[in-house]
């Protein structure tokens, strides 16, 4: 073999160009920036996020824009079952209560319910799942518990718990969360098992990466995206269950205002006054569909395979 001499003037220093570096190497790769960039690349996602933000803000801040009280019934006969129009944007119900105010108020109650349940599910689920995955001893009893609880059809489970406890806000929280954490826990357990023993983590450990860095850089991003997705996806399910429980008479008490109560009230007067059902339900449907799509889209963009 002929020896070759490399002279310094054969090479020049190349400037770092951000856009090109994407195609060559991942030197400036940041997981979160890439996730959000992928997510906001789609105009549809931006639209959904904006719309959901506006709706959620509206549900919590509607008294600022609108002065009607959702509870104030009216003794005046002419105020009952008014068609949508001036004064009452969505009309009034059979007791003269303003449906626009009731819709936002109900949305707030149901969103609050959904957020609390999602929070309980996810926090307990992630902790339990992490322990379930890491500690071998708990694996058997936890799996047995999971199998026994999941063997009961979800509707039957919801019904029996709401039947035994007194129907109400916290009953729904208990009934949903006592089951929901298990499925998230199982999901996290499977993920933890896969991540813990995956080759890139073993490689990192072999190369001397401290455990702290492995946890922060390799494991947390994986779990956080799952957590956000699960939270977003559980909101439509919670709202759906609340409406269902209201229908079978085990939901929120009819004196309170929630989407389940609204849907069931609107359903009863649908034949004569269809707007009493249509307006509230279209907002329910829009919120649940948006959360569902956002959850799925976010899951897609949090997958590093879709980042390039």
């Amino acid at each position: 073999m002929q020896e070759r001499e490399f002279k310094a003037d054969l090479f020049d220093v190349v400037e770092f160009i951000h856009d090109e570096s994407k195609y060559v190497a991942y030197e400036k790769y940041s997981y979160w920036r890439s996730t959000f960039r992928t997510f906001f690349k789609s105009k549809f996602n931006i639209f959904l996020i904006t719309a959901v933000t506006v709706l959620v803000l509206m549900a919590f801040l509607y008294p600022v824009f609108y002065s009607s009280d959702p509870y104030s019934a009216n003794t005046d006969f002419y105020q009952w079952n008014q068609a949508p129009g001036d004064g009452h944007l969505f009309g009034t119900d059979s007791l003269g209560r303003d449906i626009f105010a009731r819709t936002w108020y109900g949305t707030r109650t149901s969103l609050l319910l959904a957020f609390i349940i999602a929070f309980c599910d996810v926090t307990i689920g992630v902790f339990a799942g992490a322990i379930w995955g890491y500690v071998k001893k708990v694996d058997r009893p936890m799996t047995e518990l999971y199998n026994i609880v999941m063997n009961v059809p979800q509707t039957v489970y919801l019904i029996i718990l709401s039947y035994i406890l007194r129907p109400g806000f916290w009953t729904i929280v208990i009934a949903k969360a006592s089951r929901g954490w298990l499925s998230i826990g199982k999901f996290i357990r499977n993920k933890v098992l896969v991540i813990r023993d995956s080759e890139y983590n073993i490689a990192s450990t072999c190369l001397g990466t401290p455990l702290r860095r492995v946890v922060i850089k390799n494991i947390i991003p994986f779990l956080v995206s799952i957590i956000i997705m699960e939270t977003a996806l559980s909101i439509p399910y919670v709202i759906g269950s609340e409406v269902f429980l209201g229908f079978i008479g085990l939901g929120m008490p009819t004196t309170s205002v929630s989407l389940g109560v609204l849907v069931n009230e609107g359903k009863n007067s649908f034949q004569n006054y269809p707007y009493q059902l249509i307006y509230p339900t279209s907002i329910v449907a829009f919120i649940t569909v948006s959360f569902y799509i956002i959850g799925n889209r976010f899951a897609d963009s949090s997958d590093p395979k879709n980042h390039i």
Binding site: I248, V263, A285, V289
Partner: protein, 313 residues
């Protein structure tokens, strides 16, 4: 294989026992008014009521009450209904109502398996194209919008559109159409989602690439390799679904007033008739547990990998 079945059977029995025990104990906490009709309650003294409750296993030693109840349950004797159908044995009620739920459920299951698989196939073939978009829109709507809402709109609007009856009549076959269709909507979406996912997973596997590289006919690959392997995981859920059709759909049976078991549970809840609620919940849970058991066994027969891994242990 035998060892596996015995092991799974043992697990199933334990699940059923634990479940029935928990449900039985929890229902003992309910107010006792739920065990009497109004006249009975007013015409008896508290001491007499106490005696009746002990006899039925609601008061007194919990374990003995449970064992007595289960002894009856095994021979399909759940006591008698008191408020809704005074003095009719609960088992007679169940036998009378189960066929309606079961028939509706079976019909809807056949429809949803066929349509759902077709839809999943279409979506996977036209991935990221028009059929996929339409299918996804359908799935998202069905999954995210509360069921009660769209089922109610279907009952009110679509039945009118096709001049079908708004309620269910046992002697008018055309009144069966809408309940079956509405019952299928959810499960069509379910089958389509999973079949699409499994098909796409399967399509990207190495052996399919090899088959393509060998120059095999695309249709042949799809039919004999991709579809066959993708359908297998769905088999797991079929028995549970089939058995659960007997329990009926609470929403649909109540909307169309179908005299089925789901509707019976709703009436029992509204009337607070504890004995009936207990019997129905036990039956529904047992059906689900047994369905999952059969699904597991079926999977072991269909998928050779499960058998191998079990023998290795």
């Amino acid at each position: 294989m035998k060892k596996y079945i015995v092991k799974r059977l043992f697990h199933t029995m334990i699940s059923i026992i634990v479940l029935s025990f928990l449900v039985f104990m929890l229902l003992r906490l309910m107010p006792i008014e739920g065990y009497f009709t109004r006249e009975e309650y007013e015409s008896t003294t508290p001491a007499q009521r106490e005696l009746i409750l002990i006899e039925n296993g609601i008061k007194g030693k919990p374990l003995r009450g449970y064992l007595n109840y289960m002894k009856g349950a095994i021979v399909f004797d759940f006591g008698r209904s008191n408020k809704i159908y005074p003095d009719v044995p609960i088992s007679t009620l169940i036998i009378e109502k189960a066929p309606y739920s079961g028939l509706l459920g079976l019909a809807s299951m056949i429809i949803s398996v066929i349509l759902g698989c077709l839809m999943g196939l279409g979506m996977a073939r036209g991935k990221n194209k028009f059929p996929d978009t339409i299918g996804t829109a359908y799935i998202v709507t069905v999954r995210a919008v509360p069921r009660l809402v769209y089922l109610f709109f279907i009952q009110v609007w679509i039945t009118g559109l096709f001049m079908l009856p708004l309620l269910f009549y046992t002697d008018r076959p055309e009144s069966w159409i809408m309940p079956i269709v509405s019952l299928s909507l959810g499960s069509i979406a379910w089958y389509a989602t999973w079949l699409r996912r499994f098909l796409i997973d399967e399509e990207n596997k190495d052996y399919i690439k090899l088959a393509r590289a060998k120059g095999l006919d695309e249709k042949y690959i799809y039919r004999n390799h991709i579809f066959r392997n993708a359908v297998v995981p769905l088999v797991h859920y079929l028995p549970a679904q089939l058995l659960l059709t007997i329990s009926g759909s609470l929403i649909i049976e109540s909307l169309y007033s179908i005299p089925g078991l789901g509707g019976l549970l709703l009436t029992a809840i509204n009337e607070m008739e504890n004995g009936l609620v207990l019997a129905l919940v036990l039956i529904f849970s047992t059906l689900s547990v047994v369905g999952i058991f059969i699904g597991d066994i079926l999977m072991a027969y269909v998928d050779p990998r499960i058998k191998l891994s079990e023998e290795g242990v």
